[in-house]
Amino acid sequence: MDVLYFAWLRERIGEPKERVETSAATVRELVAQLVATDEQHSAALSDLSAVRVAVDQELADLDASLEGVREVAFFPPMTGG
């Protein structure tokens, strides 16, 4: 699946997007896999209270299922308006 990062998460990871092969069943399992990848991922995703997630462009939580999902995005709390 495609994993996207925005704002300071994108800067810490160093890429806006990556292709990830995963058998993770939930967002939480995907995060655990990403954190184990390298220091950048570990630093970006260390404090999940500061991270929001969207699954196929819908806001979701860490327990969201990844079955059939094509795109997961991680970003800080939004600041529109």
């Binding site: 939004m78 600041t79 308006g81």
Partner: protein, 145 residues
């Protein structure tokens, strides 16, 4: 219902020409890039292109379900915006002012915390800090529960 997510400046008056015809009340709100520190020259707005319009449309649809609105408009910019430039606007049209005011506030509260935009301050020396979300913005949503 008009939803526009664009980098370009907009002219609210021309966009709203004919907006809400027949309504008894029209409320408009404009957000302007403001410099709180005296050091900022611009804001850089990042967004999530494939999600943004859908997220804004969902918020607008919920507002329409909640109040009896004749019409509704949301314009939100992204990219680099200088201090003093309009960053976004909402407009609501209803038969009565209460619905128009409330729906406009609801739209603003949800756009602040549920539309996928992120702001970064740009100073004379280049990019500065990302603007952190405020707890008060999240709290503002609870009044609509």
């Amino acid at each position: 219902m008009l939803i526009r997510i664009q980098p370009d400046p907009f002219d609210l008056a021309s966009i709203l020409d004919g907006f809400g015809q027949g309504a008894g009340a029209i409320v408009t709100f404009s957000g302007i890039v403001r410099d709180d520190t005296g050091q900022m020259v611009a804001l850089e707005l990042e967004h999530y292109p494939s999600m943004t319009e859908k997220a804004v449309r969902d918020i607008a649809t919920k507002a329409r379900a909640r109040w009896d609105l004749e019409d509704l408009a949301v314009i939100h910019r992204f990219g680099r915006l200088s201090v003093g430039e309009p960053i976004m606007a909402v407009a609501t049209a209803a038969r009565h002012r209460q619905a128009a005011f409330s729906a406009a506030q609801y739209l603003m509260d949800y756009l602040k915390s549920r539309a996928p935009f992120w702001k970064r301050e740009i100073g004379a020396d280049g990019p500065g800090d990302w603007v952190a979300a405020k707890c008060s913005d999240e709290d503002a949503l609870s009044r609509w529960d």
